[in-house]
């Protein structure tokens, strides 16, 4: 079965309506109306027979589970296909409709709701930042950037990635985070040093990201191997321990 996607003009019409405050209420309802003339088939993408989606509950968003399941269903997408606004907007308005409603519930404020809808149901202008904020595409890109085939658990780094907002919000959208070796090195360093990160983890990750961003101002970190980057991270150990001590 080939993948159905929206036509460009339909995405723009839906998005324009939200920007103009029209149909915002629909996003709390059953669905937006979709007719055959609003969609086309992308014959290069094979659609999965079904998608396993866990609906978020109060205390668990099931981000990791949903990310892994989505990535396994669309493992063969290439980067161009995975940056197609029409594809992700179609999924957020069909299979992932109920998931998004629970994951980013709408409030009683229309302005906030407009922002939430534009950010998570749509990709409001193609960019790394918007791809990593969209409710569904962020799950795929997070998995894609952290999946390591030859690890015992190929999704081990994916699990670490979705454990913290600082990673999901900032790591991939920045220039440095687009280096595969850097992302893998950073996540591996955290996973391999559980004691070091057992306390004040967020503060420590922020410190590492700040230092590495500074270093990347005069050094091409992407030219280094994963092990070499981990060595640079290791040099920060003393500073990280100070953060722990500064409780």
């Amino acid at each position: 079965m080939k993948q159905i996607i929206f036509k460009s003009h339909y995405v723009s019409e839906l998005m324009r309506d939200i920007k103009n405050g029209i149909n915002v209420h629909m996003y709390s309802g059953e669905a937006v109306p979709i007719s055959n003339s609003d969609t086309i088939q992308n014959i290069k993408i094979e659609a999965p027979e079904s998608l396993k989606i866990i609906i978020p509950k109060t205390r668990n968003n099931y981000d990791v589970e949903n990310a892994i399941s989505l990535y396994e269903s669309y493992k063969d997408l290439n980067r161009t296909q995975a940056s197609d606004i029409r594809f992700w907007t179609y999924l957020s308005h069909t299979s992932y409709w109920k998931y998004l409603q629970k994951r980013w519930p709408l409030k009683n404020d229309e302005e906030i709701n407009k922002r939430t809808i534009l950010q998570h149901w749509f990709i409001n202008g193609l960019s790394a930042k918007n791809l990593t904020r969209h409710g569904v595409s962020s799950l795929w890109w997070g998995s894609h950037a952290t999946y390591v085939k030859d690890r015992k658990d190929p999704f081990e780094l994916t699990k670490e990635f979705f454990s913290m907002l600082d990673y999901t919000r900032h790591l991939l959208s920045g220039n440095l985070g687009r280096n595969e070796n850097y992302v893998h090195a950073l996540l591996e360093f955290v996973v391999e040093n559980p004691k070091l990160f057992s306390k004040f983890k967020e503060k420590k990750i922020r410190h590492i990201m700040r230092v590495m961003n500074f270093t990347a101002g005069y050094s091409l970190l992407g030219s280094l191997s994963k092990e070499e980057i981990k060595k640079l991270l290791k040099e920060q150990e003393k500073e990280l321990l100070k953060i722990q001590a500064a409780k």
């Binding site: 036509k7 019409e13 324009r16 980067r79 940056s83 687009r178 005069y218 050094s219 992407g222 030219s223």
Partner: protein, 286 residues
Amino acid sequence: MKLFNYSFPHPVLGHNDDVSDRFETSYEIELGKRKTVLHVDIILTNTTLKQLLKLKKVTFCCDISCPNTLFRKNIVFLPQKYDIELESNFLRGKVNVIFYIIALEPIPEYLPENLNKDYSGYKFSISKSEELAIGEKTWFIADKTYEQFFSVSSLFQICKSPEKDRVSYQFDEDKITINLPSKNFNDYNDIINYEIFYSAYHAFLALPALTLALEEVFSDINNLLQNKPWYIKILQIRENNESIKRIAIEKNNGHVLAQHILKLPIGRSLADLRMLKDRLSIPNNE
């Protein structure tokens, strides 16, 4: 040319007047369906760096990044003429390219030839991967056209408008959006695939939209539209066409630039209409 306005902890050729030598990089792009190739050509005049290249202590490095596909790669190479090959499906839209010379190993007492006098008396300790020369910030467009419209389809999209009788335009999206009233939108969809009408689409749909869009950019003091993909694409078309390049990017010049970007659509559509009249042998009203 865009310059880097930040400081480095050591002298960098190509950064301000740190080192008075040349590091000039250029490349030609070959955009294929499967592969994209950059044919790179580098001019380097600094003798210290040339020597270090020979000893393989430093290397050329191309930093390629495409924010739209979250792709970034640092490709190292030694020859001054070199082909960089990438999968085309790694790229969509704007692709940033910068060339560097970086250290392949620690260089304890780095002191390049023709160093600015301000640095006299200093020696620098360089670590692996640190930048020693930096080229111009450049970019190209890896175009992916979605749906058939006309030859400039990457610039425009046609949408159905909730308005009854007024055509409206939006410039804040990735493409210039032309909103047609529902009835017009259906008529448009009926005739879209007839090539004979392409020039007419350009003249009565695209030309006014592009003229308005360009005037909007030229008077956009907040630069909110400068980075929109449709405008970047226009800059690229202009850059690659010598006659369009001569048209100044300035207020009140939008209609001139628009006509040339769209290959003079009024003249083309009149010629096509004349051809259509001849084919259909329509009697005139005189």
